[in-house]
Symmetry: C2
Subunit: 307 residues, 2 copies
DNA sequence: TTTTGACATTAGCGTTTCTAATGCTATCAT
DNA sequence: ATGATAGCATTAGAAACGCTAATGTCAAAA
């Protein structure tokens, strides 16, 4: 049983040493246990010939089964131990960078304060990696923008983030109370990398409202965009929340867009296979907390942007 | 894992020593392992103060969970090992005495011949015990007559056994090609114990056809009834199949009943709980074999007896 | 009450599994 | 290319764990 748990951790982290540390044993012990597990099963579970350790096909299957098995065992143990109380265990979250490290960290801290038996790990990654992590059992849930009910993932809408026009404090457009898309005609703009969902939605928003800004640069990460805007005369459309701090410090200025543009954030998870629960108890608890505390205090009605 | 398997066997057999033998270890080892399991869980699983060892409430819950878990693990292991072949493991069957030791044994032998990796154990018990065994996870499936979709068990009809009038070879009624219920008026009869379902159905059959035999004795077991009939002038209504041998040997005579009376046999099983399969792979295979080979060569249409 | 069967307990031993140290190899940076 | 680095494999020895055998205890049956 403990060996399965070790396997699960090794597989998710793609590392013997990390998993070993986590279990309080040496890397050597982990290696030996995994070898003997493979011998028992008569199957190679890992591909050791590549450096971020990979799983073989059999390993993938075994990982999926193990996750389910372990969760089930934990549930059983909890039931038998008569604990109606908090579940224990870990929740692994993969989030896109721009989900807001500050926001998620605040939520995480509040959560572990309320449920001290649960450990929450958040990894920030590129959107593609988030989907992949969820599909490959490397995490319990993912947080992405514009969640798509893609094959192999389920979706829970989380919140709509209001987008705002961002520019240097001295920029002419920042004088106004709000900016309309047509005001951006001919304005130099910094946008997201075109293969990020958010970039496609912004372009679509602009095109449908007849705006044709000059896209000067494209970055795949919010911080770089903020830096670019702060040091040039370009503008950008970013989630208002992500620039709050810079606005207060006077480094950037933000102006409301008219009509409003929102970026939906959502939780994605691997949908239940035949007969398994979508989340483990710890993960479910966290999702509930996330929905409760992660929504905007006063959520405005979500406004659809024509695709 | 192996400990869970041991627990499962101990719980089902209500015996440390038997389970230990089954696992090729000493009773002492089994005792120690179970103690340590209890310590790990922080719960008492067994009630050791009664002699056929009992399970505590927590033990019952844990057993149900373990069964599920172990089956799931076996499935996973098989998948990973790339075996699309026969499942391995044990199938535990509880059957009523009168299901026919000869019939079931023949089926069992045929089955293990075809699937050598599967072990089949059949226990013959009283009907109540069979239901209890199924409900309490002590077996994978049960075989009973007049299966009732009682709470907590699922039902698969297996076969209808034709009932016949049985008497000493010299008895007047055995001269005839068939016997009608009214012919039994005033005849001395040996019947099943009234709290067996089959007895209630026979009485109901007789009453609805206006027959009023004199019920002289009541036994809860077919062999005793056969003995009683063979050594007195009483008659009995028994499944024809169960007296074939005695008829051939000239110890008993059997005559068809008109209208026909049948006793349905069925398979009972504990219905799937949330998300678990109704049978393990080995058990499913056996059930399929049972249905295939356990039905009468030419099954006559089942004839309902008004309740 | 006595007997019997079954579980608990203990000590000692054997196997398993761990650690520590070292070697090997894939990746990365220069 | 070439060396540096990180991570896994392998080994031997040590610690830990689980098993057996023997004995004690208690519930159920006679």
């Amino acid at each position: 049983m403990q060996t399965l748990r070790l396997f699960s951790d090794v597989a998710r982290r793609h590392s013997f040493s990390e998993a070993a540390k986590l279990h309080g044993i040496t890397q050597s012990a982990a290696s030996q246990r995994m070898s003997s597990l493979e011998k028992r099963l008569g199957v190679t579970l890992f591909d050791r010939s590549v450096r971020p350790l990979a799983l073989t096909e059999a390993g993938e299957i075994f990982l999926a089964g193990c996750s389910e098995l372990l969760e089930q065992y934990d549930r059983l143990q909890r039931r038998v131990m008569g604990l109606g109380g908090d579940p224990s265990g870990s929740v692994r979250v993969s989030a896109i960078y721009s989900a807001g490290i500050d926001l998620l960290e605040r939520i995480r801290i509040g959560f572990v304060a309320a449920h001290s038996t649960v450990n929450v790990e958040i990894h920030y990654q590129h959107p593609e990696k988030v989907y992949q992590s969820v599909r490959e059992h490397e995490c319990d849930l993912g947080i992405v923008s514009y969640p798509q009910r893609w094959r192999q993932v389920g979706v829970i809408p989380l919140r709509d983030e209001v987008m705002a026009l961002v520019a240097q404090p001295g920029h002419p457009l920042t004088r106004r109370a709000s900016v309309r898309p047509t005001d951006l005609n001919g304005v130099r703009m910094v946008n997201f990398d075109p293969h990020l969902p958010v970039a496609r939605h912004i372009r679509s928003y602009l095109r449908h409202h007849g705006a044709e800004p000059i896209v000067e640069h494209q970055f795949d990460n919010i911080d770089t965009i903020k830096n670019a805007v702060a040091s040039t005369d370009g503008v950008a459309i970013l989630p208002r929340r992500t620039v709050m701090q810079e606005v207060e410090m006077g480094v950037l200025a933000a102006v409301a867009l008219e009509p409003q543009l929102v970026r939906p954030l959502g939780i994605i998870f691997r949908p239940p296979q035949r007969g398994s629960e979508p989340f483990g108890d710890a993960a479910r608890l966290f999702v509930e907390y996330l929905i409760e505390h992660g929504r905007l205090p006063a959520t405005r009605l979500r406004q659809e942007v024509p695709a």
